[in-house]
């Protein structure tokens, strides 16, 4: 049963990502990506990462994809449906990707996981809840990275506003 669920999720993830890559219509690509993100959230659930599954849905499906949709609506791409959507050298890109997969799969086929090093055991999660365990690690051990991520997001928001605002010159009507 577990294997069946994993195979279904893997199949849907691969098929939807291929559809995103090959779709002519950018709006359809975004919607296929939505399907992909939901399936990935379920994959996180099967990996006992409930918190990350929720963050995946809230941040990616809720924020990032809406941003993509807004930009696609701003940029009205009528011509996109008629012209070629790949570079002329796409067979070489496909070759590189396939070779990457073949070589890397050869490398990780013999992968065997090391001994358990962390403290996030199923017993502790059952006792405290995953959000509490993660929050404790985030706000004690990784507090500096957390602050840096906050600054990064602030800079990203300000940068996006500064880049896309309309440039007004003095004495000119807005």
């Amino acid at each position: 049963m577990e294997t069946l669920v994993f195979l279904y999720l893997a199949l849907v993830l691969i098929v939807t990502s291929l559809l995103v890559v090959t779709n002519r219509n950018a709006v359809h690509a975004v919607l296929w990506m939505l399907v992909m993100f939901f399936h990935q959230a379920v994959l996180f659930l099967t990996l006992e990462a409930e918190f990350l599954a929720l963050v995946q849905i809230i941040v990616y499906a809720g924020a990032v994809l809406v941003l993509f949709l807004f930009v696609i609506y701003i940029i009205n791409l009528r011509t996109e449906l008629k012209i070629r959507n790949f570079h002329i050298y796409w067979p070489m890109a496909a070759l590189v990707s396939v070779v990457l997969v073949v070589l890397a799969v050869k490398a990780v086929k013999e992968f065997c996981p090391g001994p358990v090093v962390g403290d996030m055991t199923p017993k502790l999660i059952a006792q405290l809840g995953q959000a509490k365990v993660l929050g404790k690690a985030l706000f004690t051990q990784h507090i500096l990275s957390f602050e840096a991520a906050g600054v990064l997001l602030l800079v990203a928001v300000l940068g996006a506003v500064v880049l896309t605002r309309r440039i007004r010159f003095r004495g000119e009507e807005g």
């Binding site: 893997a10 691969i14 990502s17 995103v20 890559v21 779709n23 950018a26 690509a29 975004v30 990506m33 992909m36 993100f37 990935q40 994959l43 996180f44 990462a49 918190f51 990350l52 963050v55 995946q56 941040v59 990616y60 990032v64 993509f68 930009v71 940029i75 959507n85 790949f86 570079h87 796409w90 890109a93 496909a94 590189v96 990707s97 396939v98 990457l100 997969v101 890397a104 799969v105 990780v108 086929k109 992968f111 996981p113 358990v116 090093v117 962390g118 403290d119 996030m120 365990v133 993660l134 690690a137 985030l138 990275s145 991520a149 990064l152 997001l153 990203a156 928001v157 996006a160 880049l163």
Partner: protein
């Protein structure tokens, strides 16, 4: 229990698909979406390894990757809007000059 290597192989395949799209597509918006696919593939492998090692660091790292991806999408899409305003074009091979 599913072996971790299966998750790693899935993540590799997704990463390769994203990389192919990034190299081969002409539309800048789709290229940004391919970056998101690649970041998601890395997230899958991180979560799988974190489950295997039972370590919180993997989950924290995925959390930060998601935060950085959100910032990257905001900046990248702002740049796309700027390019479109300037040139009325979003296809990568049409941009020949670095100077704006």
């Amino acid at each position: 229990m599913i072996p971790i290597s299966w998750y790693l192989i899935l993540s590799l395949v997704l990463f390769a698909i994203g990389a192919f799209g990034f190299i081969a597509r002409r539309n800048v918006i789709i290229m940004l979406m391919c970056i998101e696919i690649m970041l998601n593939a890395v997230n899958i492998s991180l979560v799988a390894l974190g489950r295997g090692l039972q370590d919180t660091a993997a989950h924290i790292l995925v959390f930060f990757v998601i935060a950085v991806a959100a910032g990257e999408a905001a900046i990248g899409l702002a740049l796309v809007v700027l390019l479109f305003k300037k040139t009325r074009e979003v296809h990568m091979d049409e941009f020949r000059a670095l100077k704006g």
